[in-house]
Symmetry: none
Subunit: 249 residues, 2 copies
């Protein structure tokens, strides 16, 4: 088994179960405990997981508070949310993924807006529920505890049955060459289904994530209709996306 492969497997396990034990990993993959430990070390240095005595935990595990960076990018996300809202019209069916950017969007929705929002993300759904006028549809299935969204074939099947007007996609990484990429296999499956179902796909991303790559591919640039960042559309960082025919806001 290749090192890269091994680490991808470990990362997948961590994202799936929120924790891994070095001991169980080394019997699963059949390598020495030292190798596992070194892998965990590397993944931890890359910020992908949290290494603890005896194994590792997913980041979301104790991601209760990240006050400093949170506030910092909060303003950027608010700006993105504003731009995104300008694309919404009354009566629309809107499918959204999870993530903090979408959370900000949910919080920022104008109270008089009347629309139907569909999502499988629990935190996002909670935000939508506070809104006085929108209808909320929840996609059901098994809940992935670390990403706090519903994942699985049922969820995907349900998404394929609907045809929303808009799809807002929070992104983990977007790159001119590799398109949108992510690090959780199940989340990627969902996003793929969301993109396929929707009439129009709008990708929300803070500038920090532009030109970054994650291990698993979600879709190419051609599948995206619009890209919203906190930057000015004329910013040179965005030129490649404009050139690719994406409407950049």
């Amino acid at each position: 088994m290749l090192k890269k492969e091994r680490q991808a497997y470990i990362l997948h396990q961590v994202n799936l179960h929120n924790k891994v034990l070095s001991s169980s990993l080394c019997t699963e993959i059949n390598v020495s405990e030292d190798t596992i430990r070194r892998d965990l070390q590397e993944l931890s240095e890359e910020g992908k997981i949290i290494k603890v005595h005896g194994g590792a935990l997913s980041h979301s595990f104790n991601e209760v508070s990240f006050p400093i960076s949170g506030v910092y990018s909060q303003n950027q996300k608010r700006l993105i949310a504003q731009k995104a809202i300008s694309q919404i019209q009354n009566g629309m069916f809107i499918l959204t993924s999870g993530g903090t950017t979408i959370m900000e969007l949910a919080r920022t929705l104008p109270p008089q807006l009347k629309a139907t929002f569909i999502s499988g993300s629990i935190p996002v759904i909670l935000e939508y529920m506070h809104h006085p006028n929108i209808e909320v549809i929840l996609i059901g299935d098994k809940i992935s505890k670390n990403s706090k969204i519903t994942v699985g074939s049922e969820a995907i099947a349900k998404i394929k049955q609907i045809k929303p007007d808009l799809c807002f996609l929070g992104t983990n990484a977007i790159d001119a060459e590799h398109g949108i990429t992510d690090n959780d296999w199940e989340v990627v499956q969902l996003k793929k289904a969301m993109i396929e179902s929707s009439k129009k796909v709008i990708c929300l991303s803070i500038a920090e994530k532009i030109n970054t790559v994650q291990p698993i591919r979600v879709c190419g640039l051609s599948d995206i209709d619009m890209l919203i960042t906190e930057l000015d559309p004329g910013n040179p960082l965005l030129k490649t996306f404009v050139d690719a025919g994406i409407h950049v806001l």
Copy 2:
């Protein structure tokens, strides 16, 4: 169980109940009292909790609040939850409704329990998600904002597809003559489906709601397998239910 995990669990318990006893924690997590004490020590040094003789308190507790009105029935509900948990075995598929009694059940689940919980209630699902070992399946559909559960034909169809071992039903009203009744038409539809699907239906109800009636009928007594209240099973108030062949706990 990893140290971080344990501490996260403790922290969650503290934030939930505003206090924890070292003695009860050490039986719950199954470690020595010293370990718990050291964990509390560390968490206290990090400022996450306030350590006191015999356990720890939440920060918010210290400020003003002496337990408000809820506590009275909270204790009753906790007792009900305890009894309910005695009916759960590892590996079971368990369908639950919403409501505060079920919330208490969700909060009280022992951390080492491994089971699959299915529900359409958002607050209950949030509780389940905090649990380290259980699988959580969310029933999706349109969200009813006032009852905070998913309602509609999709949800009902999904419930009919499953065959859980147990169904815990929070009740609004139960009466010897009219059986279980409720006041929300959509919730009633769901509960009916839940009862129909489940191998065993366990009804949770505080004594206050016994012999009360609501406008819409959910089911008759014959559909219930077990009734759990905070009262002693021998209590005269429960006699009619025992006579009706219901196992009263």
